[in-house]
Symmetry: C2
């Protein structure tokens, strides 16, 4: 039932049909397909959440994200407001950092950082017997928290890998040392991942977007950041 | 039924139980859990494929990878041999590049590259009306193909995002311009993704690991690379 013109590639006896979609239209076409399939699945998304959910599905081809992304009330609005003020984004991995569209972020006056590979973070983690991910959140708190050099710059935290980062972030918020503009909580995996995200879900004054359960990842964290950046 | 000592965190009225796992043991513990759940699902993996499949699941918490990763005969062996010879890895995204453990790769004498953001690649793509991803594969062919500066360096291609990169890679192989040591074919998404991977599955003399279907991603491509690097 495809309406697109098709191209054929021949390899031995095998024929492959490719949809002819111009490079600039691949993303729009993908989002259209995701929208149609969500509809077929009977899933209706709130308008505010739709671009975020669709971009998470776009990054993973995993429709579970239509059900497991949990938004605190007004989370998207809070993220967009921060981005329009030129906020920073701090991530826990180089991979998530790489996936964030830094050109578009910078056009909004923002910047993205990860402190994971910093030498002072490695030292702090070793001294504390914790992880570099947790220590990188301490470093962020020293910068963006009360009395920090960047305390007036709003900051979104995008955690795509380490539950230890998310747990430390939760503690720093509870201790009043950090007020994130938004927490994007997307660790993936098996050890303390579910629990670390449950902690974030208990936060009452901090806007959050959480991938409930085991799934998530740096790619999903970056996708959620980009969904907000493209709207802001 | 958890045997680990547990820690409690209190937030309002909510208690969260965290498994006490030392930072250095989180990965081993995760792999143990993945192995147990695969067993419970009745899935038995061939020993050669097991570390690759488990690491893909570890990166995504998605057990679909136990079923959708397709290996050409001897693909893992081919990858390990190339890595032991100090091969290069070329990826189609900065994100996949970021996820590859370049310290461990360099200990084997190898290096990882992505040409996606190179200016000559952007120019070539614009001139050809194709994508930068496709043009980045042309650049790789000029380097690693017959007559190229690096023609004697084995090269693994890890494609985590762009079907256009994979299609161009397929064509370059068919045209005899490139002989990859291994193709890790993991584009994710909706437009031409499935088809591009089907093309790779038709290659007869090129070792491949393919994530059949829509799923994949830069994170999965990097995970497969790392699974091989850690064994080599």
């Amino acid at each position: 039932m495809r309406e697109e013109q098709q191209m054929e590639k021949k390899s031995g006896t095998k024929h492959i049909h490719l949809d002819q979609v111009l490079p600039g239209q691949i993303e729009a076409k993908s989002f259209e397909m995701i929208g149609r399939e969500l509809q077929e699945m009977g899933i209706e998304l709130e308008p505010e959440k739709e671009p975020v959910v669709k971009r998470a599905i776009h990054a993973s081809a995993d429709f579970d994200y239509a059900r497991n992304l949990v938004f605190s009330p007004g989370a998207v609005r809070a993220g967009l407001e921060a981005l329009r003020k030129g906020c920073h984004i701090v991530t826990d991995t180089r991979m998530a950092w790489s996936g964030i569209n830094k050109g578009r972020l910078s056009a909004l006056g923002g910047e993205a950082f990860t402190f994971m590979s910093d030498e002072d973070v490695a030292r702090a983690a070793e001294q504390a017997g914790s992880t570099r991910a947790a220590a990188s959140m301490e470093k962020a708190a020293a910068l963006y928290g009360a009395g920090g050099k960047l305390e007036n710059t709003p900051c979104i935290f995008a955690v795509g890998n380490a539950p230890t980062a998310l747990i430390r972030l939760y503690e720093l918020v509870q201790e009043g040392k950090l007020r994130p503009a938004l927490v994007i909580a997307m660790p993936v995996g098996f050890v303390n991942v579910v629990q670390s995200k449950e902690l974030i879900l208990t936060l009452e004054e901090t806007p959050f977007i959480v991938a409930k359960g085991r799934k998530g990842g740096s790619n999903i964290a970056a996708a959620v950041c980009n969904a907000l950046i493209y709207q802001a």
